[in-house]
């Protein structure tokens, strides 16, 4: 005889067990690290428990009915019941009432998270590109890419837009995603509440390398943030005459690199991310690889093979020239 026991299906405990063994989940939505993410998480948790209650009750009723009323020999024919008005009203009202309990905190959270940050907030502009992120701090006159540095405990006002197709800026620990739509500027505001490195990535399908459009948010202690700001505001490091780095700069300045990348005082390209302080970033290629010599070498030699569709072409830079360019880029702290 058939028995339906979805509650016995071992999936939930199994899945939880798998999760329990894993970690540390750098992109989890369940570990909020800002007021915005915290409000969302709180709301989600309350809806989740409502869902669990409904799930247990309704699936329970279903399973009970299927088992209790299964066909057995000798059982009399069932009564042909056509309906029951009071029951219909009851189970129309029941979900409606539960929905009120979900809708009210939902509306409250919508308006609470829609607010603008106070005027003292740090202003950041996020611009999505295929497939990397550009960050501008208009008040600090800083432009950087892929790694967003923020001070802990200070409200941030983020304006988001795109330079080409639609992207979606998403750092789960700090809050929900928001689309980067060309021609529009949308805004989110949040206040990071713990120091740490949080990963995120583009959440709206944006073409071949959508999967490779990652990002990192560095929430820093205020002193560390100020130090970072000073480094970014300083002109790009000028290598000492005759050094390997100086040779790297000369190679860079004569290569096609300058068509797309900016290095203060060396080049003015704007198609790719700025490199003025690239040596200070921990990753390259929109969070894909660690910023070390082997990866830089492979990246410069053949970016499209590492990131399908990447606009950066294969650079005819090799041997000692390549070593020099890498040394130069790494010196740009």
């Amino acid at each position: 005889m058939p028995r339906f026991r979805p509650w016995l299906s071992p999936l939930l405990p199994l899945a939880l067990a798998v999760v329990a063994c894993g970690g540390p989940f750098p992109q989890s939505t369940l570990r909020p690290r800002s007021d915005f993410a915290g409000a969302v998480d709180q709301l989600f948790t309350s809806i989740f428990w409502w869902a669990i209650i409904v799930f247990v009750v309704v699936e329970g009723l279903l399973c009970y009915a299927v088992i209790r009323y299964r066909h057995r020999e000798g059982r009399p024919a069932p009564r042909p019941v056509h309906g029951h008005t009071a029951l219909e009203i009851a189970w129309t009202l029941a979900p409606a009432v539960i929905l009120v309990f979900i809708a009210v905190p939902t509306m409250r959270t919508i308006f609470a998270t829609a607010g603008e940050a106070p005027p003292t907030a740090l202003k950041v502009e996020v611009i999505g590109h295929q497939w990397w992120w550009e960050y501008r701090y208009p008040d600090l006159r800083i432009v950087t890419a892929n790694e967003l540095s923020l001070p802990v405990g200070r409200p941030v006002q983020v304006s988001i837009t795109s330079a080409d197709v639609i992207h979606s800026f998403w750092a789960p620990a700090l809050g929900g995603k928001r689309d980067a739509t060309p021609g529009y500027v949308t805004r989110i505001a949040f206040r990071p509440d713990s120091v740490g490195v949080y990963s995120g990535q583009c959440a709206e399908f944006c073409g071949a390398s959508h999967a490779n459009m990652r990002l990192r948010v560095l929430v820093l202690r205020d002193s560390a943030f100020q130090a970072w700001v000073r480094r970014q505001q300083a002109p790009a490091a000028a290598p000492p005459r005759g050094s390997l780095e100086a040779r790297g700069r000369d190679v860079f300045a004569k290569s096609a690199c300058i068509g797309c990348h900016t290095i203060d005082g060396v080049s003015k390209g704007i198609i790719g991310p700025t490199l003025s302080h690239v040596g200070g970033r921990a990753t390259i290629a929109a969070g894909l690889f660690p910023n070390d010599s082997p990866h830089l070498a492979r990246w410069i030699a053949n970016a499209p093979s590492l990131k399908p569709g990447a606009l950066m072409m294969q650079m005819p830079v090799a041997g000692a020239d390549l070593t020099a360019v890498i040394a130069y880029l790494q010196s740009l702290k």
Binding site: A114, E116, S159, G183, Y184, V185, T186, R187
Partner: protein
């Protein structure tokens, strides 16, 4: 015999009268457009006039006034849906609760 006998359709006289009204309304529309005094109420006037024309054609030329009410439902349902969608879209794109800070950064503070 086809369905819907003669009695179901208006007479030629009705058709002609409706045509006359339609022409007058069209003249009014164009007239309103050219008279500067009307410019304040231009949009509502034009909308009202064209709604009347629309209704006349649908009710008399397309026989919805005397034909089965079910046909009115088949036409009116989707028509109303289209109007509601149009209004909703206009609200979404132009209303107060539209995208904040559209291109050009117009809307600081929403």
């Amino acid at each position: 015999m086809p369905e819907a006998g003669e009695h179901a359709h208006p007479t030629v006289g009705t058709y002609l009268r409706v045509a006359a009204i339609l022409v007058i309304l069209t003249v009014l529309e164009v007239g309103v457009f050219y008279v500067p005094a009307f410019h304040v109420v231009l949009v509502p006037t034009l909308l009202a006039l064209s709604a009347v024309k629309f209704a006349l054609v649908v009710l008399f030329y397309m026989h919805l006034r005397m034909d089965s009410r079910f046909f009115s439902f088949l036409f009116g349902g989707p028509f109303l849906l289209a109007v509601v969608v149009l209004v909703a879209l206009l609200f979404l794109f132009f209303g107060h609760f539209t995208l904040r800070g559209a291109a050009g950064g117009g809307g600081a503070g929403g």
